[in-house]
C-alpha cells in the first residue's frame, strides 16, 4: 500500500517533537453488501474504504491523526500534525523498518469480491425463500449477505513493518410473522472469518428457517412475567451475557483508566468456581479471529477466568503502558478513522460438568432463554441489560409455553457469582461489538448455563 521508505520518513516526522513511540496504520477495505427484501434482491453495494491513521505517544499521552490523502505530501502533513500536537522539542529521528510476515492461520478459499454476483444472490435467495416458505404467517423476510475484505498495514518506531488480510462473510435473515393483528420478528445471522466457503459449513436454508421459526414462536407467545427468577441461558448468543457483564470490564480501556469494577482483582475469586472464560483470537476461521491485531501484535489465547479466579485482562498497547503489563493481542479498531483500544476477539465461557438436561430439571419455576438479543453495560458499575429474543417458561423442570418481550438485568459481579450450573454444549455466535474504536466483529459463546437469580424485565 505504502512503500517502506516513505513509511520510515512518516514515522520519523511523527517522532520529531519528542514522541517515544509512533505507529502508522493503513487500511484498504472492500465492503460488499447485498440486501433481499419483499421477495427480491433489492440493493447491492460495493464500498471501498482507504486511509491512514498515525499515532504517537509520550508516555500514556497519545495523539492520533487520520487522512485519506495517501500521497507523500498528505502523509507527511498528517505525521507533522501529530508531532505538533504532541510536543515542542525538535529531534532528528531515523527509523529502520524490517518487514515481518506472520503465519496466516485463516486462509481464505473463495474471495467474495472475486466471485460472481449471481453466486451470492443464489445463496441469499436460498436463505430468504426458506424463511418465507416456512409458514404462510411469514409476511416479510429481509436478508443481508455481507462480506469484508480488509487489508491492513502496520509500521511502528520499534521497526515493525507488517501487513495482514482479513476476510469475513456473514448472512443475516430476519423474518416478520403476522396473524393480522400483530407482528413479531425473528432473526438468525451467522458469520465466519472466511470467504464464501463458509456456506460449506452453514446451510443458508437452515438460517432462514431458524429466523422464521423464532418469529412464529414469538407470535404465539404471551408477554413475559416480570420479577426475579432462576434463568437457564442457552448456548451460542447466550454468551452475550458474559461479553456484556464481564468482558467489557476486563478490557484495558476501562481497567487501565481505573473505571472498571475488575481493577486490582487479578488472582481473586470474581466468579462462581464453575466459570472458566477464555478470549481466543486464534481460532481458525472464527468470526472474531485475526492473525495480528490492529497494532501488529499476534493474537493469542487468553484465559480470563479459571474456575472463578481472575487470571488476565485484555490489553492493547496504550493499556499496556497504563497498566505496566504485557499486550495480549487485543488492540483492535474498525478502521483508520479510529484509534485502537483493547477489544474482545472470540470470547466464551468454557464447557462445564453439568448435564444440560439436569440444568432444566433443576428449575422449579423460571425462564429458559433460548435465544438472546443484544445488550449494553456500564463498565463502571457493571450494570447490564440485554433482551431475550426467544424465551420459554420453565415449570417443574420442564420447558413450557413461550414468552416474549423479556430482558435480563443485573450487575456483572453478581451474575458471575450466580452462574451456578454450566453445561456441555459450547457453541459460539457472531456479533458486531461497538466501542470507542468502532465496530469490530466478535464471537460470543457458552454452553447452557443456569443463573440462580436474576431480574427479568417483562410486561406482566
Amino acid at each position: 500500500m505504502i512503500s517502506r521508505i516513505l513509511l520510515e520518513d512518516v514515522l520519523a516526522a511523527a517522532m520529531s517533537t519528542g514522541a517515544d513511540f509512533a505507529e502508522v496504520y493503513a487500511e484498504k477495505t472492500r465492503n460488499n453488501g447485498m440486501r433481499f427484501l419483499d421477495g427480491k434482491i433489492d440493493t447491492v453495494s460495493d464500498d471501498m474504504v482507504s486511509g491512514v491513521g498515525i499515532r504517537a505517544f509520550i508516555g500514556t499521552r497519545t495523539v492520533y491523526a487520520t487522512t485519506t490523502d495517501l500521497s507523500r505530501a498528505g502523509l507527511i502533513r498528517c505525521a507533522k500534525a501529530v508531532a505538533d500536537a504532541l510536543g515542542e522539542s525538535k529531534l532528528q529521528v531515523s527509523i529502520n523498518l524490517t518487514e515481518r510476515i506472520f503465519p496466516n492461520i485463516h486462509p481464505v478459499k473463495i474471495l467474495p469480491g472475486s466471485s460472481l454476483l449471481t453466486t451470492r444472490t443464489d445463496i441469499l435467495k436460498d436463505a430468504c425463500f426458506a424463511a418465507k416458505e416456512t409458514d404462510e404467517k411469514i409476511k416479510q423476510v429481509m436478508g443481508n449477505l455481507t462480506s469484508v475484505d480488509h487489508t491492513i498495514l502496520v509500521a511502528n518506531s520499534e521497526g515493525l513493518y507488517t501487513s495482514d488480510r482479513h476476510v469475513r462473510t456473514r448472512i443475516a435473515v430476519s423474518a416478520v410473522a403476522s396473524d393480522g393483528h400483530e407482528n413479531q420478528s425473528g432473526s438468525c445471522s451467522p458469520g465466519r472469518g472466511m470467504g464464501l466457503e463458509m456456506f460449506d459449513f452453514i446451510n443458508p436454508r437452515e438460517v432462514g428457517k431458524v429466523a422464521a421459526d423464532q418469529a412464529l414462536v414469538n407470535l404465539r407467545a404471551d408477554y413475559c412475567p416480570a420479577g426475579q427468577m432462576t434463568v437457564a441461558i442457552e448456548n451460542g448468543f447466550g454468551g452475550v451475557i458474559f461479553h456484556e457483564a464481564c468482558g467489557h470490564s476486563l478490557e484495558a480501556t476501562s481497567v487501565g483508566t481505573g473505571t472498571s469494577q475488575m481493577c486490582g482483582k487479578l488472582g481473586q475469586k470474581i466468579a462462581n468456581e464453575k466459570v472458566t472464560a477464555i478470549d481466543d483470537g486464534t481460532i481458525p476461521g472464527a468470526w472474531g479471529s485475526v492473525n495480528i491485531d490492529d497494532e501488529g501484535t499476534p493474537t493469542q489465547r487468553n484465559v480470563l477466568i479459571e474456575n472463578g479466579i481472575l487470571k488476565s485482562y485484555m490489553i492493547d498497547r496504550l493499556g499496556s503502558r497504563r497498566m505496566n503489563m504485557a499486550m495480549t493481542g487485543n488492540g483492535r479498531r474498525q478502521g483508520f478513522m479510529f484509534e485502537p483500544t483493547s477489544r474482545m476477539t472470540n470470547t466464551f465461557i468454557a464447557n462445564g460438568n453439568d448435564k444440560n438436561e439436569d440444568i432444566i430439571k433443576s428449575i422449579e419455576y423460571g425462564l429458559y432463554a433460548k435465544s438472546m438479543g443484544g445488550g449494553s453495560v456500564n463498565p463502571l458499575t457493571g450494570e447490564f441489560n440485554f433482551g431475550v429474543s426467544e424465551g420459554y417458561i420453565v415449570r417443574n423442570g420442564e420447558i413450557c409455553e413461550p414468552v416474549r418481550g423479556a430482558s435480563l438485568v443485573g450487575t456483572g459481579s453478581q451474575i458471575l457469582m450466580d452462574i451456578d450450573m454450566v453445561g456441555q454444549n459450547l457453541a459460539t455466535a457472531q456479533g458486531m461489538c461497538g466501542s470507542s474504536s468502532g465496530s469490530v466483529p466478535t464471537d460470543v459463546g457458552q454452553p447452557l448455563i443456569r443463573v440462580s437469580k436474576i431480574t427479568v424485565g417483562g410486561r406482566r
Binding site: T43, T68, S185, G258, G405
Partner: protein, 442 residues
C-alpha cells in the same frame, strides 16, 4: 483530488461505459477531539476524510458504489462496480435521478468554523480542573472532552443538479466519576459550545448528577405513574423512529402502516420533523436524493398526518416525497421531536403524586423492537413521593409498547430537550407523564 477533477473523471467514465443517468455525492470532513484524564490531555486526535458515493441507473435499476481511494483507475472502477451491481437487482421500484426542486430554503446556521486545537485543549483542561475542584468525591476516570467537526457535502447529477452544504459543530462534555460511601457512580453532560454559561455549568451538573445516584435502592415490581425525562423519552422516540418510515410501512415492518389520517397518540402529542430548526448546527436544505427539505407535522394533536417518504416509496404509493430520502433507499428524520406541553417538570411530579422519575434508560438497541413497538429497558431514576422528586432508585425495567405509550401520555413539560446530532438527525422531547406503567424491580 479536487471535486471538480473527481466529477470530470467520473462523468468521463460514465460516458465511456454508456451510463446516462448518475449521481455523485461527495463529502469531505475534518474533526478534532481533545480528551483529558487526571488533569492531563490524555488523547488528542484530528482527522480529515473524503468519500465519493456514486449511483447510476442501468436497465431501470439503481446500482451503488463508493470509495475513499482517489485515483483515476479506481474512479472508473467505481462506475463499473455500480453498473454490475445494478444488473442483479430484481425489485420493481421506479428509480429516479432527481431533476431538482423548484427552490431550496437557505440554512440559518452560521458558517461552521473549525476551532483551533489549542482552544479545544484549553477547554478540556479547564473543565477537568473545575470538575476535580468541584467536589472531593470526584475520582480518576473522570473525563472531559472537547470536539470540533466540519463537513462539506456536494451533490451533482447527470441532470446538471448541483447542491452543496456545510455543517459543523463545536462542543464539550464532562463524564464525571464520583465515589462516595464506597459506591461509584458516573454521569455525563454535554454542551453545544466551548464557551459561555452552559459550559461553565457542566462540571457542577455532571458531578451533582452522579452524586444524586449514590445510595439508590431497588423498587418492587408493580404498576407506577412514571415521569420520563425528555432526555430519555427522546432516546425512546429515536429507537422507534423507523416506524415512521413509509418504506418500512409498505414492507409491513411498521405498525403505522395504513394509519395516515388516524389517531395514533394522545391529543396533546404533536411530533414535528424540521430540517431547519433554529439553533440546530446540522441543518440541511436538501436530502440525499437532491429533493428540497421542509418542516412538517408528522403527528398533529394525536393524528398521524404523514409518514416520511423518499422518491421511490412516494412513487410506489402515489404520494409526494417529504424530502427525507437517504442513499440506498428509505428515509431519515431531521430534528424529530415531540413538541412541548404546558406543565413544568415539578407539576408533572405533583400530577404523578407517587411513582418513578426515569432519568436513564440503557440498552434500547437491544430492548426495543421497532417492528412490534415493544420495549423493555433497564432504567435508573428517582422515586416520586407526595408529588416531589425523592430518593434515587436503580436497576428497574420499564416495559410497554411505544404506540400504547404515545396514546397514554397524560401530560408534557414545557421544554423540548434536544439531543446531540447524529448526521443530520437530532431527536427531542419534553418530559412526559404516563400513568400505570409496568415496572420490574426486585
Amino acid at each position: 483530488m479536487e471535486f471538480k477533477q473527481i466529477k470530470e473523471l467520473i462523468a468521463g467514465a460514465c460516458k465511456k461505459h454508456g451510463v446516462e443517468e448518475f449521481e455523485i455525492y461527495y463529502s469531505i470532513g475534518e474533526n478534532i477531539n481533545a480528551e483529558t484524564l487526571k488533569n492531563e490531555i490524555s488523547a488528542f486526535s484530528s482527522g480529515e476524510s473524503a468519500e465519493v458515493a456514486f449511483r447510476c441507473i442501468v436497465n431501470g435499476h439503481m446500482g451503488y458504489s463508493s470509495t475513499s481511494y482517489f485515483d483515476e483507475d479506481e474512479l472508473e472502477d467505481l462506475v463499473l462496480r455500480a453498473v454490475d451491481n445494478a444488473k442483479v437487482i430484481e425489485n420493481d421500484d421506479v428509480v429516479v435521478i432527481f431533476k431538482g426542486s423548484e427552490s431550496y430554503a437557505k440554512t440559518t446556521a452560521p458558517e461552521p468554523k473549525m476551532v483551533e486545537a489549542s482552544e479545544l485543549k484549553k477547554c478540556a483542561l479547564e473543565l477537568q480542573k473545575k470538575t476535580y475542584d468541584y467536589s472531593d468525591t470526584v475520582v480518576d476516570g473522570t473525563q472531559s472532552i472537547a470536539i470540533s467537526f466540519r463537513d462539506e457535502i456536494y451533490l451533482y447529477n447527470s441532470h446538471g443538479l448541483e447542491l452543496s452544504n456545510k455543517v459543523g459543530m463545536t462542543g464539550c462534555y464532562v463524564a464525571a466519576v464520583v465515589n462516595k460511601d464506597g459506591e461509584s457512580r458516573d454521569n455525563f453532560e454535554f454542551a453545544e459550545s466551548i464557551y459561555g454559561e452552559k459550559v461553565d455549568e457542566l462540571p457542577a451538573k455532571a458531578v451533582n448528577g452522579a452524586l444524586d445516584k449514590i445510595g439508590a435502592s431497588e423498587i418492587p415490581t408493580g404498576k407506577y405513574n412514571v415521569v420520563i425525562d425528555g432526555t430519555q423519552m427522546r432516546s425512546i422516540l429515536s429507537a422507534f423512529s423507523p416506524s415512521f418510515s413509509a418504506k418500512n410501512a409498505l414492507l409491513g415492518m411498521s405498525l403505522l402502516k395504513g394509519k395516515e389520517g388516524e389517531k395514533i397518540a394522545a391529543d396533546i402529542v404533536t411530533i414535528v420533523d424540521d430540517p431547519m430548526r433554529e439553533g440546530c448546527p446540522v441543518q440541511t436544505s436538501f436530502d440525499n436524493e437532491g429533493v428540497a427539505t421542509y418542516k412538517k407535522n408528522v403527528v398533529e394533536n394525536g393524528v398521524l398526518k404523514t409518514l416520511l417518504y423518499d422518491l421511490t416509496t412516494a412513487i410506489k404509493t402515489g404520494k409526494t416525497t417529504t424530502g427525507n430520502g437517504v442513499r440506498g433507499g428509505g428515509v431519515r428524520p431531521y430534528n424529530f421531536g415531540i413538541m412541548a406541553g404546558e406543565n413544568t417538570l415539578e407539576e408533572l411530579f405533583s400530577k404523578a403524586e407517587n411513582g418513578v422519575y426515569v432519568t436513564g434508560v440503557k440498552g434500547l438497541h437491544a430492548g426495543a423492537n421497532s417492528i412490534t413497538g415493544d420495549f423493555s429497558v433497564e432504567s435508573e431514576g428517582f422515586l416520586i413521593e407526595n408529588g416531589k422528586k425523592a430518593s434515587p432508585v436503580k436497576s428497574f425495567v420499564i416495559s410497554g409498547n411505544f404506540f400504547e405509550l404515545l396514546k397514554n401520555i397524560d401530560s408534557l413539560s414545557n421544554e423540548v430537550k434536544w439531543g446531540i446530532p447524529g448526521g443530520f438527525t437530532v431527536f427531542g422531547s419534553p418530559d412526559i407523564l404516563v400513568k400505570d406503567m409496568t415496572v420490574a424491580g426486585k
